[in-house]
Symmetry: C2
Subunit: 333 residues, 2 copies
């Protein structure tokens, strides 16, 4: 059931994907940049699976792999790139290949993914957008191929599923996700230790930053709105930045009674990235639109310029207006 797409990308079935993998002998497996548990788990699980059926393969990650994944990351084969069939896992768009984009973006023969936003850049694509994680897809693929799953393969797969679902917390979890987790428990995966490393371990500098950020907490509109700031000074002082700051926006909506969480992160001398998190009926994208940003109903953002106080005022006015529209009444600070 091959489907030739107008964009030239061929959509494969699970069985066709399995056949593809059996057909070739030598692979390069690419992960996305700023690697997370799912792209790494998928790449290494696929690597271990391919080794079980006598293939040669190399995992290539555009960035340094964080040490916390050491329990399933191993040295892979040395592969001559001109001999290898290139696979990308959990890479929804060529730009996500980061430093590998130039070399590999046009050369991906097989893309295995679960992102509905996949841009169909590869020659062949196996996409299961109902899967919580690419590791869910790889599990089904290895099962389809009747490949032996080792403990380390199971650890890699569990890691991807756990990290992409917030340990089975998020909306992407389905009955199938739990059924696969149940099967992975048949191996010596030590899931509690994986979960401790993935969810209950943070760097000292991030804890320091969180402490500073909590000190900036302001409550507005009768406690319905919480505002947090991450200044450039805090980022410099602690050495925390980039993806390490992702968890901060979550804090702003984790407090009882909060309907809007605002996180203002300084990105330049007079430039700030504002993240909005809301609960229904409040719509974060409605607020963001008022200040030139955009996003989804529950999470949206905008980039604003001015001093921190000016940016605070701008976003609070937009929040007040949206609350008044939503509740059809006047909201007081």
């Amino acid at each position: 059931m091959k489907k030739n797409q107008p964009d030239g990308c061929r959509l494969l079935t699970l069985r066709q994907t399995a056949r593809f993998l059996k057909k070739h002998d030598c692979y390069v497996i690419l992960t996305h940049a700023s690697p997370d548990g799912d792209t790494l788990g998928a790449a290494y699980a696929l690597y271990y699976g391919l080794k079980e059926i006598g293939k040669i393969a190399s995992v290539i990650c555009p960035d340094v792999i964080p040490k916390k994944y050491d329990y399933f990351v191993r040295e892979t084969d040395h592969v001559l790139r001109e001999d290898a069939t290139v696979i990308a896992v959990d890479v929804a768009a060529p730009s996500l290949l980061g430093s590998l984009q130039e070399e590999f973006a046009g050369a991906v023969k097989l893309n295995i993914d679960h992102h509905v936003s996949n841009t169909h850049y590869a020659e062949n694509l196996y996409l299961d957008a109902s899967a919580s994680a690419t590791c869910e897809v790889i599990f089904e693929l290895l099962t389809q191929m009747r490949v032996n799953i080792n403990d380390i393969t199971a650890k890699a797969l569990y890691t991807g599923i756990a990290t992409d679902t917030g340990c089975f917390k998020y909306t992407n979890v389905t009955a199938k996700t739990h059924l696969i987790a149940a099967q992975l428990y048949d191996y010596a995966i030590d899931a509690p230790e994986i979960n401790r490393l993935m969810f209950d371990t943070k760097s000292r500098k991030l804890l320091d930053l969180e402490r500073m950020v909590l000190d900036t907490a302001e409550y507005h509109f009768a406690g319905k709105c919480m505002l947090l700031c991450v200044t450039a000074e805090m980022q410099e002082k602690t050495g925390c930045g980039g993806s390490e700051l992702e968890g901060i926006a979550v804090i702003s909506r984790s407090v009882e009674g909060i309907e809007v969480g605002i996180t203002i992160k300084q990105t330049g001398e007079r430039e700030f990235k504002v993240s909005l998190r809301t609960f229904p009926p409040l719509n974060a994208s409605e607020i963001a639109k008022k200040v030139g940003g955009g996003g989804h109903a529950g999470a949206a953002g905008a980039t604003l310029t001015g001093t921190l106080e000016e940016v605070k005022d701008q976003i609070l006015v937009a929040v007040k207006q949206t609350m008044e529209e939503t509740y059809a009444g006047i909201v007081t600070a």
Copy 2:
């Protein structure tokens, strides 16, 4: 396969427990004091199950049920206590009945539990110590009884399993836990919303307290030890106390590179409760023993007297000694 225990408690099988529930018509279902998601989930799931087969039942909780459980808590039947057969769920010992102990401790006809520490106080006991939660046991019981499971029953059961396992994070999770979760996903349980309420929502006062506690963070022994303090003043200022403080000790061992986490909580003018969390090879109970306390390898505690500074010194000396014994070398502050 009835087993008459020397203590007079009869151990039932799952099938015998099902038969017991079908035999009587009117029940009182007791939860433990300071109710959590598992005791409440188990009580209400059992209540809804009994209603499905035409029984009359009342859930009685020794304490006020927190509002966050409103999505599965309903008013139950009014039952004359002298007509009712008393069941306790997730109550491992009579003292855990709290304010209900005097009235009910000697009257429990059936106890359904998963705690290996169960004291066998009831006339009949169905105990499955391999279950992650009493809700896991209740799910199997309702399945055994072929009772219809409604959405609200499934919500109650999912809540108990999720809360007792830290959302599938802890060592008590088994393949069966995930298999049951998969089956509960067949109902309209809105698991992400349950998980948000249970895990990602904290009171403003607790966030305030956490901020104050993080400000006390001290690092010792080349960053291998973190020390946090919860003073009486902080508890008064924020109005946080008791079980609300349970999560604080977890912070002390959540930082990368930390081998010993110490949390000192003031419990009197010159009295402090010290909680210790360690990673192997360090043994928390070895440290606790040195200052007159005790516990397990990974978590232990002691009560110490003196000023806060004196208590800090006492426990740090004990940590230093234990580290030197464990690593067979001198440890510097």
